[in-house]
């Protein structure tokens, strides 16, 4: 039994965080949360607080921090507007299954429900987008609530949780005693793998001539990369990844066949509809992956393994739905399996990927004239960082280009907003990634639109001297929306063009080194200069204004109707 100590709720909360091994908090102070910031003043040696410039930034940063460190992110905001500013980040973490503990302050409990100054019903607001949330109105509830918050956030399918703490609960004193949670009776985070299903999966594999493995984010979350690689090396099954599954396999691996989905690679999309077996591992058949679901994988038997039972048979009906931790499943199947995929089937991927290389990739990476292209810049960055950097993206064309052309190698090195597609995610996420991995090179690829949504976080970059390398692809367009207008709305560019500020001048006003590149012959030198510079660096690259991302599965089309260019 540990000794009890009499402390205030605010201090209890910080002590609870320390007991959960938290050392970093992203946040922003305000009225209702002042007692906690006051107590934090005494604990600055134990708790490193990163002061952002807008609460949305704190939420995205905490999520990226969680992704690169594998520890839950923690985020503080005051009541009312501070709390509502978190909503986009909470939703983003929810859709991408990232463990973040959000702590919002609340008006004193006596004022709840009275429309008091800066009162917002955060519990109701955050309910659909959190894994769990709880309002604390008395100090003695704090330890258990924090313990539950961390347990729910990181176990099972991870996700964001929110604790809303009234001001009086922060001030009250009580005898603090902390116990971490081991299990909760209503909640089963670790389903038991049915070994018969492993055998069934093996049987289905042994009948298959054209199997395709779809590797998702779940494998990264389960820390099962080694098991996955053993499985792939042994079976030689062609392996495609989802956007969030990127970095789960080294893209130079011979079995890697590319990314799935709307702007994924040609071969895995096309051949999804030829495959006779699909093994979906830790992924959820998002509509951006499946295209027209009624024409998705018509020839394939489907094995779907996921830790979240609600994902099984949700979008795609599985022939074998396995409710399990993907790591358990792979550990069981690796020693058992004896199956090896035939090389002719793998050759088909190679053949189609060669087509994509010739028609799409080569012109993107090695253009001989015309304006700079995002792909060639990303490719150059990839070479210079030896594919070792943590790549953060914003959302839109910059994101698809980064996903397509960086060539990921190490696990958890792509930080991007998948499910929610949050423009403005990039810069704050880069902050969180660099705070989480101070010794790693963090590169942000962003667009002129998304960057302007959260550009104020340049202040955070400077305050903590985070050496992030920011690359803004400037085409003076909201590029992805413009691409759709180009393809589907007769080039009626409604509200997608915008003038941009002088980004280097903006960076310099924050004290950040910066350059603007317009010509191809300046590119290599400037990128080298950026990486040899020790601190943060912002590079604006003027790119081809009306470049489109291809290949593409047009909305409503089937995956095998993917096109390499718009005239196809």
């Amino acid at each position: 039994m540990e000794e009890k100590t009499r402390v205030s709720g605010a201090e209890a909360l910080l002590l609870s965080l320390i007991r959960e091994k938290v050392d970093t908090i992203f946040g922003y102070p305000g009225g209702a949360i002042m007692p906690m910031y006051d107590k934090m003043y005494d604990k600055h040696d134990l708790l490193n607080h990163i002061l952002v410039r807008h609460e949305q930034g704190a939420a995205h940063a905490a999520q990226a921090y969680a992704q690169v460190t594998g520890k839950p992110g923690v985020c503080f905001a005051t009541s009312g507007p501070g709390a509502t500013n978190l909503m986009t980040g909470i939703t983003n973490a929810n859709l991408d299954s990232i463990p973040v503990v959000f702590i919002t302050a609340q008006v004193p409990s006596g004022l709840l429900g009275t429309d008091a100054f800066q009162e917002t019903d955060m519990i109701s607001l955050s309910m659909p987008v959190t894994k769990w949330n709880y309002q604390i109105t008395s100090a003695e509830k704090i330890p258990e609530a924090v313990a539950k918050a961390f347990y729910f956030a990181k176990s099972g399918r991870p996700g964001p949780v929110l604790l809303d703490i009234t001001k009086d609960a922060q001030i009250q004193e009580f005898d603090f005693h902390y116990k971490r949670i081991k299990s909760i009776r209503s909640y089963n985070p670790k389903p038991t793998l049915d070994k018969n299903q492993v055998q069934q999966a093996l049987d289905m594999m042994s009948q298959s001539k054209k199997p395709l493995l779809l590797a998702g984010h779940g494998i990264l979350i389960a820390n099962a990369r080694d098991e996955l690689m053993e499985f792939v090396d042994k079976t030689k099954i062609p392996t495609a990844v989802t956007l969030l599954g990127k970095s789960v396999i080294d893209e130079e691996h011979p079995c890697f066949v590319g990314m799935l989905g709307m702007h994924g690679n040609y071969a895995p999309n096309k051949l999804t509809n030829e495959a006779d077996l699909i093994i979906a591992a830790g992924m959820r058949f998002d509509d951006r992956v499946t295209g027209d679901i009624s024409r998705y994988a018509p020839n394939a038997k489907i094995i779907h393994v996921d830790i979240d039972k609600a994902e099984l048979n949700k979008n795609v009906k599985a022939d074998l739905a396995i409710h399990a931790d993907i790591k358990d499943f792979l550990q069981q199947i690796v020693p058992a399996q004896y199956y090896t995929c035939n090389s002719e089937w793998r050759q088909e991927f190679k053949r189609l990927n060669e087509m994509e290389k010739e028609k799409v990739i080569a012109p993107e990476l090695y253009p001989e004239n015309g304006h700079l292209r995002a792909g060639e810049v990303i490719s150059k960055v990839s070479q210079l960082t030896k594919r070792e950097a943590i790549v953060v993206t914003d959302v839109g064309q910059n994101q698809m280009m980064a996903a397509r052309y960086y060539g990921f190698k190490n696990p958890n090195t792509l930080i991007t907003s998948g499910g929610l597609g949050t423009m403005g995610f990039g810069l704050p996420a880069a902050v969180g990634a660099q705070v989480g991995k101070p010794d790693k090179t963090v590169v942000l690829f962003t667009g002129d639109g998304g960057f302007q949504m959260t550009a104020q976080e340049l202040g955070t970059v400077v305050q903590y001297q985070l050496p992030v390398k920011i690359i803004i692809f400037n085409n003076n367009f909201l590029g992805m929306v413009r691409q759709w207008q180009n393809l589907f709305n007769d080039k009626r560019y409604a509200q997608t063009t915008m003038p941009t500020p002088d980004f280097p001048m903006m960076a310099k006003s924050f004290g950040i080194e910066s350059k603007w590149v317009r010509e191809r012959d300046q590119l290599d030198n400037t990128i080298e200069e950026m990486f040899s510079h020790e601190g943060p660096y912002l590079l604006e690259v003027s790119i081809e204004k009306e470049a489109n991302v291809f290949p593409m599965i047009y909305p409503g089309k089937a995956v095998d109707e993917i096109v390499l260019h718009e005239d196809q």
Partner: protein
């Protein structure tokens, strides 16, 4: 094909859970026909009884999402013939018509009761299936219905293994 399903969810007794469960229906645009929340034979565990008119496929997905809620222990769905369900309805009728027409015979014939008589109205109670309470509604309409209220259906399941057995087998909350 849409039909009536009864969804039963067992949960901890925590504030806000009702909201967390109902938004799952709202998101999918499913109308809840009736909803009741009550305690169970296991102390501390509450049950939600939700009746919806939906396709089996949708109901399966909704039930999976209800069960996913961290504080829900179990959620299941049943068709009409898998449950014994009852609801209670109350009807307020003007005393004048109740005396003039032959109300008493109607009550006896349809197994309804008069539960209160005031100087100007009477209150009739009927317990049974939705069809029963609706039938009485039709028959009472000529009397002039001043107020009508229905409780929502409460179901007892017919399956062999009682859920309480399962719930009692769950591990307790544990701390490290």
């Amino acid at each position: 094909m849409k039909e009536l399903f009864t969804i039963i969810a067992f949960s901890e007794n925590h504030i806000g859970l009702l909201n967390r469960i109902t938004i799952i229906f709202t998101r999918r645009h499913i109308n809840i026909e009736s909803l009741t929340v009550s305690s169970t034979e296991v102390k501390g565990i509450h049950r939600f009884n939700i009746v919806v008119y939906e396709t089996r496929e949708q109901v399966e997905k909704v039930v999976a999402q209800i069960e996913k809620v961290s504080e829900v222990m179990r959620a299941e769905y049943y068709t009409n013939d898998e449950v014994v369900s009852r609801e209670i309805a109350l009807y307020k009728i003007p005393l004048k018509t109740a005396i003039e027409e032959n109300l008493e015979q109607l009550l006896r014939e349809y197994d309804a009761r008069m539960v209160d008589v005031q100087s100007d109205f009477v209150v009739i109670e009927k317990t049974g299936h939705v069809e029963d309470t609706e039938k009485i509604y039709d028959l009472l309409e000529p009397f002039g219905i001043l107020q009508f209220v229905r409780s929502g259906s409460i179901p007892i399941t017919k399956q062999r293994k009682e859920l309480s057995t399962y719930l009692n087998e769950l591990p307790r909350d544990e701390y490290a």
